[in-house]
Symmetry: C2
Amino acid sequence: MQRPRIKLVLAEAALETVPREIWGHPAVYKTAKRRGKTPASILLDRSLHHQAMKGLPEAEKRGRPDIVHISLLEALSSPLNREGLLETYVHTIGDYAIFIKPETRLPRNYNRFVGLIEQLFEIGRVPPEGEPLLTLKPMSLRVLLETIQPTKIILLAEDGEPRRLREIAIELAREVAPAVIVGAFPHGDFRPENKKLADGIYSIYGGKPLETWTVVSHLLAILADHLGIV
Amino acid sequence: MQRPRIKLVLAEAALETVPREIWGHPAVYKTAKRRGKTPASILLDRSLHHQAMKGLPEAEKRGRPDIVHISLLEALSSPLNREGLLETYVHTIGDYAIFIKPETRLPRNYNRFVGLIEQLFEIGRVPPEGEPLLTLKPMSLRVLLETIQPTKIILLAEDGEPRRLREIAIELAREVAPAVIVGAFPHGDFRPENKKLADGIYSIYGGKPLETWTVVSHLLAILADHLGIV
């Protein structure tokens, strides 16, 4: 069987540094100070900044670094990735793209992951010296997709066409380099301009929402099964 | 198709409060004090207590609450669990069993999860009032299995008989109430007395180690596919 190289894109991810509007909020100031950092350099995190986030636009979609953390751990630890058949990208809600070397071993500990992503937002690469494992660039989802040049683009969303995960895996595996886009935000919908980029939009669980990490792990598992890897 | 009820057991989990031998270690004392807790009441965490853990027996298997956290998030968020076909248990390296109501919504944030498990170790149940979602009891893996009475016991380990995940799913789905045991420790092997409890020991990835959450998510995904849920 031809072995595709799957391009997994976590899109509109709830991953950003604290926005300027709330730098002065006591909840932000306090968490920054405790860590010896400036409000501008720490990640927005609903578990710490819930009160401060109330007035932010699209607040319900923001401030959840844990979604990207767990989803990336699933992607990078997956047999599919270990067999060299996966590329993983993050597009953030603030229109940054993160390029991740497949051999990257992310911190398992959440607080260390947060520190690493803060460094990434500060200097654009991690580690600072030598070959970078993670690289950050300002980039819309459209430009990210133009850059990675998938042969087909599938987006998973609750309001998509109902489709079994296995059928999606078969469709992806027929391609040389397909992209699959999974939303990495806690609530709400994709932006219309991003949804338009897909060749097909599918729903895998009867229109009910699933956690991002569940979608990622289940898709990669069914793909690995289909390709005979597990 | 008959719908089995799968009993997932995360075993010998690297989840415990700081052991007495290292209560006085500066790294332990410092992290306890910063959180306004006693050394006895905080979780052992390698990301904080690495230095202090050096002399502990079985140190390489201990102090990784993140493994249980991510694996439980995968289990409880899975379509299999949401369809009512999964029961999830944790057996810890210190021989405690954690009983988890399937509808439990665990904290997504690691630090909040740690606080919740510390409360569980302190008072034996969470939440403290009303119907408990999590219950903790001193219990060996053997007694836990006697308590939950599976119709068959499959254990997954690197040195097991090679078996495709799909074949394991088919074997499990033939049973009414099978248990599947996954190690929730970072390195090393199961204790011999625990391994002996299994009817079958299988290896799913060519004898190579996988992260606990990867094993859990991939097994649950293949089961959900086999049962027509996703």
